[in-house]
Symmetry: C2
Subunit: 251 residues, 2 copies
């Protein structure tokens, strides 16, 4: 990609995982609500994602957008996710259309489908022997209002694709942790996403051609209950990690 | 149902269709943003659906809610549907939980799935011989931002059911017209909903037992591309009308 790539929410955990491996691979334009907390060689825009005009200016001249900005707290209150996550995502998609950007990678979340984890299914669904799978064709079932806001971002992406031809991929990100999977937490091991798999996945989202897709963003964990087949097929995702390869990750 | 039923957006077209047949069947508490434009025997609350406290007060003591209020325009701008339709619906669901209401009937829309009507499928899908069907298990594909807001209302309903045990049915309302189906408009004939079928359907939504459901609200039209099987099975919906029985409705 020759044009710059806008990375919103660049200072967050997912943004830093992406930049740790892909800093030199793209001409990044970073955006965050607060000024950078560490040195960066990249252009840095300080703007609130709810500021329609500032977002439009930040999008000017980029070839693609990785949209991570928003309130990341699963327990975030409604007014915050309504504004930061729902209205903010709409600002990004609208700006993309206005400025002729062709591709938007949207950070959705496992919380968009968290309520599939019913008392009847858990903890069996977190274990390697269980073959229950969500694959992205199921209706949203959020486990909190944050998850509602992410499901809404997916619907907005669908609309902007159908109506305006924007390429949109929604990545339902699992449990991103550095170095090793969460300990003593079966669910987190089932949906673990390693830093290098995270960076590789978002790289594939920027490189591949697609119309509108929903994919799960997790490593190739033995415990997985999210299918990664669509990510493999559509994006060429080829994860290297598996939470089972770490001590304390067995059943 | 012994307790009153709150009807939000009571002055709108759907509200009037419901009241025309069911005025005497329930103890209605009507709510609208503006004062009533005609005489009514029912309690009438003037309140804006975006006013959290006023909505909570209106919900106090009711046994069920039929939630129709919102900006009904398919071309409504984002800020209006964000506030009136998305935030407004969340206010109603939150108030229902706070006040211990057990059942909410949510007026969704055909526009939540309007983008399935692609150039390749139309106009064939509007014709009796075509067997393409949407049945409510498909992912939302809104045709406008109004449709995005209705799909979001459905997701909110799913969350409030899963998290709080509220019974929620989302009715994707078709093309409601009085007396006869739209003329020279195949799409409108395919998704026609007669006034008496509309009233009967919402009556069934108030009477039946369910957890969370998405149903299509149309008459039993030969031209239909929305399945009404789920409405029949879950609600006992038994429509009496069919747009094909009117002149100018043939292929």
């Amino acid at each position: 990609m020759d044009d710059p790539v806008l990375l919103t929410g660049a200072e967050g955990r997912v943004g830093q995982a992406i930049l740790s491996d892909l800093s030199a691979e793209y001409e990044w334009r970073l955006l965050d609500r607060d000024p950078p907390t560490r040195d960066t060689d990249h252009e840095f825009v300080v703007a609130d994602i709810t500021d329609e005009e500032a977002v439009r200016e930040a999008v000017e001249g980029v070839g693609a957008i990785v949209h991570l900005a928003g309130d990341p707290r699963p327990e975030a209150p409604w007014n915050s996710v309504l504004s930061n996550n729902i209205d903010g995502t709409r600002n990004v998609l609208e700006a993309a259309v206005t400025e002729g950007v062709e591709k938007v990678v949207f950070a959705s979340s496992n919380h968009a489908v968290g309520a599939y984890e019913t008392d009847e299914r858990t903890p069996d669904m977190y274990r390697p022997s269980d073959d229950y799978r969500l694959d992205g064709t199921e209706l949203p079932r959020p486990s909190n209002l944050y998850g509602v806001s992410k499901a809404t971002g997916e619907v907005l992406g669908r609309y902007y694709h159908d109506e305006h031809g924007l390429s949109v991929v929604c990545v339902r990100i699992g449990n991103l942790t550095k170095n090793h999977p969460p300990k003593d937490y079966e669910r987190g091991q089932a949906m673990w996403l390693s830093h290098r798999d995270c960076a590789h996945l978002f790289d594939r989202c920027l490189q591949a051609d697609y119309d509108y897709e929903i994919v799960y963003g997790i490593s190739d964990n033995d415990r997985k209950y999210y299918s990664i087949e669509n990510a493999r097929e559509v994006l060429g995702y080829d994860p290297q990690d598996n939470s089972a390869e770490f001590a304390n990750a067995e059943c």
